[in-house]
């Protein structure tokens, strides 16, 4: 739940990038960190393992200006994607306002995408949140692989697997070179803000 401070006139919003391991969640944040360097007052925090996998979360805060006289601060988090870290994923989801689900377009990852989305549903349930009601954007990442020999899933297939019931906005993206990273971010911010305005202002 977003924190609204009537005294300091601040709104703090938590957006979590969720998805299977090695899908590009951290790469999304690293790209955003590069592009919006001037608006980001602090260093990106990354809690990684020795082999550069996310251990706990990455954290990137930035300001997006004012809404109705309130300064809006967005806090982006990623979760660790590796299967064994579900307890940590659940901890990071606490107080989440909006979610970007980063799916991997590689054909070999099809099952992992679906499993990760199912687990997201279950993890949200522990906080009495419903995946069908929370602001959510799908991102089908690594679309650049379509130019290589690596077998990839079509967007129609991914939509059918992951988004046929949810019916949320979806983007094909390439986090590595920044393709559609910013549109994904803008979309999740706008629908999260809209949802918060509905609830609180």
């Amino acid at each position: 739940m977003a924190l609204i401070n009537v005294k300091t006139k601040e709104v703090q919003i938590k957006i979590v990038y969720y998805g299977p391991g090695r899908g590009g969640k951290t790469t999304n944040l690293e790209y955003i960190n590069r592009i919006y360097r001037e608006q980001i007052k602090t260093e990106m925090v990354s809690l990684k393992t020795q082999d550069d996998r996310t251990l706990f979360f990455d954290f990137l805060p930035f300001d997006v200006g004012q809404i109705k006289g309130f300064d809006v601060a967005i806090q982006l988090y990623t979760v660790p994607g590796q299967v064994k870290y579900n307890a940590t994923r659940r901890l990071v989801l606490r107080g989440v306002d909006g979610i970007v689900f980063v799916a991997d377009v590689q054909q070999s990852q099809r099952k992992k995408n679906i499993e990760s989305l199912n687990q997201l549903y279950e993890n949200l349930e522990t906080y009495k949140l419903d995946l069908f009601n929370i602001p959510l954007v799908m991102q089908y990442n690594k679309i650049d692989l379509k130019k290589s020999d690596i077998p990839t899933l079509s967007s129609q297939m991914l939509q059918k697997d992951l988004n046929s019931l949810l019916k949320v906005p979806a983007f094909e993206a390439s986090a590595l070179n920044g393709g559609n990273v910013i549109p994904t971010l803008k979309k999740i911010i706008s629908i999260t803000l809209a949802s918060i305005q509905e609830h609180l202002f």
């Binding site: 401070n5 009537v6 005294k7 602090t42 979360f57 988090y77």
Partner: protein, 131 residues
Amino acid sequence: MLNQSQLDAIDHAIETHLIAAGIDHVIYMEMSGNTIAKHDNGKALLDSTAFAALAAGNFAAVDAMAKLVGESEFSLLFHKGENLSIHFSKVSKDTLLVSMFNKNISLGIVRLKVAETIKEIIRVLGDPDIP
């Protein structure tokens, strides 16, 4: 959501009990990592946004460990450094009070002052019409 008079009362409690006692930084925050109130003695700089995110993660991890060993919670955490130490204390189900203090103050004083502050904050949380 806390109203203006509650936030004022929380600020007042932190200033009078903790900052006045010589504690360097105090952050009152939600377990999700959002900061509700932050105070310092004006001498030291701290990236409180990143700090709050890490503190929430840290406390949440320890909380999960408590459950694994059959404890309902570890409501207090303490990290000791050479010059600076950090004291974490759970205030309510969803909030946490973090105090950073230097070697000139004893842990005993900090614990005492934190306990007083928490008592005050709990009173404020329970009463939206606090003066």
